[in-house]
């Protein structure tokens, strides 16, 4: 769901930068504090960032025929929280623009907002809410990642519709009509894709719990008791 370079006209790309930069700065502030507290976290954050990049360059098998790739930020949001995922997401998006020509420099602000901020925040909220309701952990991961993807896709449609409202001038009716159109076209690939990514993320966590669950306990993603219960049921 990257917005191409040059796709957003003048007032909008600056506006999205203005929205994203404070969040990234907050993320950096939070990251600095975490790094000062626990110095061994910086290499871990780095490999997590590289992991997001590599995961997003893998192609998912897609039902609609078009190849699509996972965003990968959902997993980072569950493990590190949304603020740090925003920083990681920004760096990964910059590399994607440079290496793979996904997205671009002027649209970086908008892309960071949809994929690095709104997506992870949605993932985190759904994840926290789900864990409170005592649902199965894997089901929660599935739901959180899928909702995060949908939030990203709705945000991208909003960004495009704000820049190109129907009828030329920005009115509420024009915005809504154009939003509906962008959302409908992207829905063809994004609705099934989000479900796919949710399934893959849940599977990923399942393998991690089975093989190396101490990572998750250490990062306070799961409590020891939950892990033991999960391993008991899934073994």
């Amino acid at each position: 769901m990257h917005i191409m370079e040059g796709f957003l006209p003048t007032p909008w790309w600056q506006a999205w930068f203005a929205v994203s930069i404070p969040v990234i700065l907050y993320g950096i502030h939070k990251m600095n504090r975490l790094v000062n507290e626990k110095r061994e976290i910086l290499p871990l954050l780095a490999v997590a960032g590289a992991f997001i990049f590599v995961l997003s360059s893998l192609k998912l098998p897609s039902v609609t025929g078009s190849c699509s790739h996972p965003t990968g930020t959902g997993i980072a949001a569950i493990i590190f929280g949304p603020a740090i995922s925003a920083v990681l997401g920004t760096i990964v998006l910059l590399y994607q623009a440079l290496f793979l020509a996904h997205g671009g420099f002027t649209t970086l602000g908008a892309n960071v907002f949809s994929m690095g901020i709104v997506g992870p925040v949605a993932v985190y909220l759904v994840y926290k809410a789900g864990m409170k309701t005592k649902l199965n952990f894997y089901a929660v991961v599935f739901l959180a990642t899928a909702f995060g993807d949908w939030a990203t896709y709705v945000t991208t449609s909003v960004e495009l519709a704000l820049a190109y409202p129907a009828g030329g001038a920005l009115t509420f009716a024009g915005f809504m009509s154009s939003f509906g159109k962008f959302a409908a076209v992207f829905a063809i690939t994004q609705l099934p894709l989000a479900i796919m990514e949710g399934a893959v993320s849940a599977l990923l966590f399942k393998y991690v719990v089975n093989v190396k669950s101490d990572i998750l306990v250490e990062m306070k993603v799961l409590e020891d008791a939950v892990v033991r219960k999960l391993r008991g049921t899934s073994a």
Binding site: M4, E5, A48, F53, A101, A199
Partner: protein, 260 residues
């Protein structure tokens, strides 16, 4: 798929030019492209940048065209939506599909062409940067631009590990494919889940090792970089300013021109 643009940048003869000059050219192209109001200026920028990348930067032409085609898909979907649904002027094309009326209006088409050309010029500028400037050179620029230290540090480490993990992911994927791991839809789902989790666990262990290795070499949160001093030659300066001036002139004179 594994070929990252960086590989070509390392071989490009333009690699040894001044980084700031290249960055200025790219930023200039991006800004003028995105703020122009007629499709002519962005197309001019796209042409100039493509010429520089292919002729002076020795990027293979076939690869370059293939690269340009790839992101056009997304741009095209967006542009089609804009062409059909925005604008209010005279209709130039209209038909009915499954009971719904579709029509392209003159100013909608104008806007769609403008957006397509802006996208194209932006892509050409980005490709110029990524096909001629390896990331290593850009880190020195980032350092000099006074961004937060931890952000740059993190980007450098991420950059290093992208290559390690890409290799790892590719070999796992081959191994899975020859064992028919992607032979049907259900299997591919579980294979890709396995691939992701193995990658995650391995990268975590790698992170631990990295921390140990760096700590034992007295890592204190700062990596110093060596920036090669590359003076800008007069010819380069001349060419660049000629390009800037002609782009700006074109920008000024085609301000109010519409082509539809």
């Amino acid at each position: 798929m594994t070929n990252i643009l960086d590989d070509y940048a390392l071989m490009s003869p333009l690699r040894h030019k001044n980084n700031w000059l290249k960055l200025t050219i790219v930023l200039f192209g991006l800004l003028v492209g995105v703020s122009s109001t007629s499709p002519i200026t962005p197309l001019f920028i796209a042409l100039c940048m493509s010429f520089t990348t292919v002729a002076l930067g020795r990027a293979p032409l076939k690869l370059y065209l293939k690269l340009l085609l790839a992101p056009v898909g997304f741009a095209f979907t967006g542009v089609v939506i804009i062409a059909f649904f925005s604008g209010s002027g005279q209709e130039i094309l209209s038909f009915e599909l499954a009971g719904y009326p579709f029509s392209v209006k003159a100013d909608g088409l104008e806007l769609a062409l403008l957006v397509l050309s802006r996208s194209l010029s932006g892509m050409c500028c980005l490709y110029f940067l990524s096909l001629t400037t390896p990331m290593i050179e850009l880190f020195a620029v980032l350092k000099a631009s006074r961004l937060p230290e931890s952000l740059i540090e993190l980007s450098m480490l991420i950059y290093r590990y992208i290559f390690v993990f890409l290799d790892m992911a590719m070999s796992i994927k081959y191994a899975q494919t020859v064992r028919l791991g992607y032979s049907n839809f259900r299997r591919s789902l579980s294979s890709i889940g396995m691939l992701g989790s193995t990658l995650f666990i391995r990268s975590w262990e790698q992170g631990d090792k990295l921390f140990l290795a760096m700590n034992s070499r007295c890592y204190d949160g700062k990596m110093t970089l060596f920036e090669v001093n590359r003076p800008v030659r007069a010819v380069e300066l001349l060419l660049t300013s000629a390009y800037f001036l002609s782009a700006l002139a074109l920008f000024y004179f085609t301000k109010n021109i519409s082509i539809v």
